[in-house]
């Protein structure tokens, strides 16, 4: 069994959802970013989405846009992020590691080369935000050849019929998310969400995780009742966006991860 399958079935056995943290890689800078990810794993994250900063992040909201801009200015590069992924893997053989990127970064690095390097360094999968079903062939063969999962996205705007086509051959997991304009913290989790996720889950051969502006244990707990995993991103990145010192920022980030991790059990 591959690492992601292992991870989800282990969570399932403990009757809880997996916790997936999105981190803008290289934010606030490369060293502190790596330290933060260590903290997140220590605080209970099962999987890390390493967000590759891009200066035209058309799928992201203000928080992650700003983090990406800062990371780039602080010297974040795709090779640097890959190297960081390698070091994390060596320290944490079981943590899921997903590269979360815009296609241009991947395209520019070289699709084949990226898959080869990331797989060699111990990555599990790639999530390309601006690669819809129709364009998937640009990346899927290289992923398959290197044993990486290509994580598909399904949005609330996706019709069920289309969602079925999207998830049909999925390995790894399916990411159910309203990315565009909604990476960002939301006050409430939409009501219809549950129903839609159940439908997608039914159609999917792989687990389905949900990211929808989750920022509290209460929200996470609600989502954990019907999803295989819960993703938090903006709320986490935002911990590092204020004027406090890094130790304070890291502490509250770890607190957030801890709070989420504690609330992922499936109610009996």
């Amino acid at each position: 069994m591959n690492r992601l399958a292992e991870l989800f079935s282990s969570c399932a056995r403990s009757r809880r959802a997996a916790l997936i943290m999105y981190a803008t890689a290289g934010y606030p800078d490369m060293a502190r970013s790596e330290a933060a990810i260590e903290g997140a794993i220590a605080s209970g994250a099962d999987m890390i989405e390493l967000g590759v900063p891009f200066s035209d992040p058309m799928a992201d909201g203000p928080v992650i846009c700003a983090a990406a801009k800062a990371a780039i200015e602080q010297g974040a590069t795709l090779p640097g992020i890959l190297a960081m992924a390698g070091r994390i893997r060596q320290r944490h053989p079981k943590t899921g590691l997903i590269l979360f990127s815009y296609m241009n970064m991947i395209f520019h690095y070289g699709v084949d080369r990226l898959c080869e390097d990331f797989a060699r360094l111990g990555g599990d999968g790639i999530l390309a935000v601006d690669l819809p079903l129709e364009e998937r062939e640009e990346l899927l063969p290289s992923c398959r050849a290197r044993g990486l999962h290509l994580i598909p996205l399904v949005s609330p705007a996706t019709s069920l019929e289309r969602a079925r086509r999207i998830v049909r051959d999925t390995t790894g997991f399916v990411y159910y998310v309203s990315l565009r304009g909604t990476t960002g913290v939301r006050a409430a989790v939409a009501a219809e969400l549950e129903e839609r996720v159940r439908q997608v889950r039914q159609a999917s051969p792989a687990p389905v995780v949900v990211g929808f502006g989750i920022s509290s244990g209460v929200q996470a707990h609600r989502v954990a009742q019907y999803a295989d995993g819960v993703v938090a991103g903006s709320a986490y990145v935002r911990c590092f966006a204020d004027g406090r010192g890094f130790p304070e920022q890291l502490a509250s980030a770890n607190d957030l991860v801890g709070e989420l991790a504690e609330n992922l059990h499936v109610d009996p």
């Binding site: 035209d56 520019h108 364009e135 996205l153 705007a157 304009g181």
Partner: protein, 403 residues
């Protein structure tokens, strides 16, 4: 150079011009874009839509815009004669209204209540606001706060035309963030809103749709020039920002033995950040939902761009241009700020036509290219817009040079 392409068949059903274009967007945008593509395919073929668009072009926009022979300019040049396709006389002063009227008419036929777009310098915003006013649709224009401060006259114009101008206050507070902000707003209600792009860029179907609405420029120019002279021109030239005015005139001559020149802004020079010559200095990349030649750094980050003509400073370029370049059907050349400003002044003084600084790039290239042609040959320049808006730019530019 590959086999002669069948230009009728581009783009393919997935929106690809060769390997360029496509729909590189987040999943949530796929549905709305598909709806637009389907609606466009259906509606743009229906007789009522065609008749209404033709009526609007004639009675509202003042089309056909004329083709003017530049006698005094041509007499100065040692070579081809220069003609202009006069999009400066199109209502609202530039070619942009051609596709904005088409887009908003499409919105009307789709039953939308509102159109939405971002704008940088404000040209697209004004054109879209004009079209929306004509049809009585709501119009929302997202604009970075920095741009709002710089482009006060265009902001006033948009508001006068009834558009809601939404200031974008995050990030660099310029075009980039305005795109994000407009898309976000669009996605909140794609059922009653149509996103209206400003050039032959973005994900499919925009490059197709904008090109088709601009094609009238080339079709008219060809017919008018034939009527005036009995011949086809040896060359056609147009400036390229996103590439809408160039595609518009190119399509009219695409199957003719007419050379096609696209002119990119070299700004202050070939140094990174000093220009916006995507075709010339770019490499294939993906931006704003489509693949094209892109000015990007060694990490794949879009580079900062510059041109004295704010309508040309875009790091990408329409996918159809990329295909035409690869196939050798069109060739892309650069003109710098100084040359464009000189052409701006020369055309004003010799012909009484003040061109947009964008269009001045094409004029400069034509003057240069003329030397390679015989005196009986003709180059038609797409004069994409008028230059009233640039009087201040020119003054500042000259002050900057101590002139």
């Amino acid at each position: 150079m590959s086999e002669p392409a069948n230009y009728r068949l581009t783009p393919d059903a997935a929106g690809f011009f060769g390997v360029y274009g496509g729909v590189h967007v987040p999943e949530c945008l796929v549905g709305p874009l598909r709806e637009v593509a389907d609606a466009y395919n259906r509606i743009s073929r229906c007789a009522d839509f065609i008749a209404e668009l033709r009526y609007i072009r004639k009675h509202f926009q003042g089309r056909p815009t004329p083709v003017s022979y530049c006698r005094r300019l041509s007499d100065r040049l040692d070579g081809a004669r220069i003609y202009l396709k006069r999009e400066d006389l199109n209502h609202s002063g530039a070619h942009k209204l051609n596709h904005c009227m088409g887009e908003v008419l499409l919105a009307k036929y789709m039953g939308k209540k509102r159109v939405i777009a971002e704008t940088g310098a404000g040209q697209h915003g004004v054109a879209l606001a004009t079209a929306a006013a004509y049809f009585g649709l709501e119009c929302e224009i997202h604009m970075g706060e920095v741009d709002i401060a710089k482009q006060a006259p265009n902001v006033a114009r948009m508001k006068l035309l009834g558009a809601k101008v939404v200031p974008v206050s995050f990030g660099l507070r310029t075009l980039k963030e305005a795109v994000d902000s407009a898309f976000t707003e669009y996605l909140k209600d794609p059922v009653s809103t149509l996103y209206c792009i400003g050039s032959v860029v973005g994900p499919h179907p925009f490059p197709l749709l904008v090109r088709d609405f601009q094609e009238v420029v080339g079709i008219e120019a060809r017919e008018q020039f034939l009527e005036m002279t009995g011949n086809l021109p040896e060359a056609v030239t147009a400036c390229v920002g996103g590439g809408s005015n160039a595609m518009g005139i190119f399509r009219g001559f695409i199957n003719d033995p007419t050379a096609l020149y696209g002119v990119e802004p070299l700004g202050k020079g070939p140094k990174t950040g000093d220009h916006a010559a995507s075709m010339t200095y770019g490499t294939p990349g993906i931006i704003h939902g489509f693949k094209c030649y892109l000015l990007q750094d060694d990490k794949g980050e879009p580079l900062p761009v510059y041109s004295c003509a704010s309508g040309l400073d875009y790091p990408g370029v329409g996918p159809e241009h990329c295909l035409l370049a690869d196939q050798g059907r069109a060739s892309y050349q650069v003109v710098n700020d100084d040359e464009a400003v000189a052409a701006f002044e020369l055309l004003s003084r010799l012909e009484g036509i003040i061109p947009a600084l964008e269009s001045s790039h094409a004029v400069a290239q034509a003057m240069h290219a003329a030397r390679r042609y015989a005196p009986e040959d003709v180059i038609i320049v797409n004069l994409s817009g008028r230059g009233d808006k640039d009087m201040d730019n020119i003054r500042q530019y000259k002050e900057g040079r101590g002139q």
